[in-house]
Amino acid sequence: MKELPALFRVFSYLSLLTIGGGMAAFPELRAMTVDVHHWLTFPQLIHLYSLGQLAPGPNMMMIVAIGEKAGGVLGAIVVLIAFFGPTALLAFSVGRLWEHLANHPWRRSVEKGLAPVAIGLLVAGCLSIAEGVITEATAVVIAFIVFVILVRTKVNPALLVLGGAIVGCFAFYHPR
């Protein structure tokens, strides 16, 4: 129960960082949930993020699992509202304003200027994850093969993620 206000604060803050996609918020997500509040460990965060790649719908739904871990059912609901509420309100208001801004000269500059920053944040988030994942050569090979297949073909990414799970079972399984 006592974690609920902190969950709300952290996830509404993270919500506003998701420029160009959820990955942009990943470095702060890691800092807040792992280092500041200790809701989970970095390997657990990576595992949940990876599991999230197998779920349908908006791709940051793994935050629900963090909320559940830290605060049960209520935690999950609080996180969901905090993470999607603020940006939903923003999108709603700007959506209604946007028509009036259609010919405003700054609009194009904002769109153009934020595009490279959004891609930079995406790569930055990816590197932050890679730090915890790319610890041995096999992982590099899997990531590289997935990258090449996706860039060159139109395979459903979920299948490749599933393939990663199967390869992982053989490559990383060390029974005690």
């Binding site: 990576i46 871990k69 944040l121």
Partner: protein, 204 residues
């Protein structure tokens, strides 16, 4: 637009900017629920276009791209921002809420259950091995997304400069995302503003 309505109720258009409640809430919720439940693999946008533009014909491609541009510029996930914008267009505030609930519900329930399962059984060596493989694949997936987005929206060397500056700020200088976002974002916006002015804004 409203000439095709064969509904018996009188449709009183008061102001031009007022939303036109033409699509029933239940239909909006249903369609977004379907998209939320079937869009495996992260490509929600393709599913959105398929459902909203091709199947339901609630939007045309031009409107879809316009809304996508807003969704990409604002903070928030593209999928949920699109749900808000499309929902508003179809049925005002209630439409936005229905679309949002629909697209989030399946993934949220699945991740809720997956989280519980992970907590109970995720510690085993086989689960850890599988998850490590999934994580490695996820890294490849994110890089591919960055690559494809980059090819679509970056065209000059200075675009790459802003990309590099952002990565440097977050990963090497360990600055917080908001700080990098504000500093690099403002510099980039001003840069493009000056270039557009310099060229003389003849483009529409």
């Amino acid at each position: 637009m409203s000439d095709s309505s064969s509904v018996l109720e009188l449709e009183v258009v008061t102001t031009p900017s007022a939303p036109r409640p033409t699509v029933p809430i239940a239909q909006i919720f249903h369609e977004f629920l379907l998209i939320g439940a079937t869009s495996f693999g992260g490509g929600v946008l393709a599913y959105l276009r398929d459902g909203l533009v091709v199947k339901r014909r609630w939007l045309d491609d031009e409107e879809f791209v316009e809304m996508l541009l807003i969704s990409e510029t604002l903070p928030g996930l593209n999928a949920t921002n699109m749900a808000i914008l499309v929902g508003d267009k179809l049925h005002g505030v209630a439409g936005s809420l229905a679309a949002m609930a629909g697209i989030c519900l399946p993934g949220a329930v699945i991740m809720f259950l997956a989280g519980i399962l992970y907590r109970k059984h995720g510690g085993g060596p086989l689960a850890a091995a599988a998850l490590k493989g999934v994580a490695a694949a996820a890294v490849g997936l994110i890089l591919a997304t960055a690559w494809q987005l980059g090819r679509k929206s970056l065209s000059h060397m200075y675009d790459l400069f802003f990309v590099a500056l952002t990565i440097l700020g977050v990963n090497r200088l360990h600055q917080s995302v908001p700080r990098v976002l504000i500093v690099v974002g403002i510099v980039a916006i001003l840069w493009y503003r000056m270039r557009d002015k310099h060229k003389g804004t003849t483009s529409p």
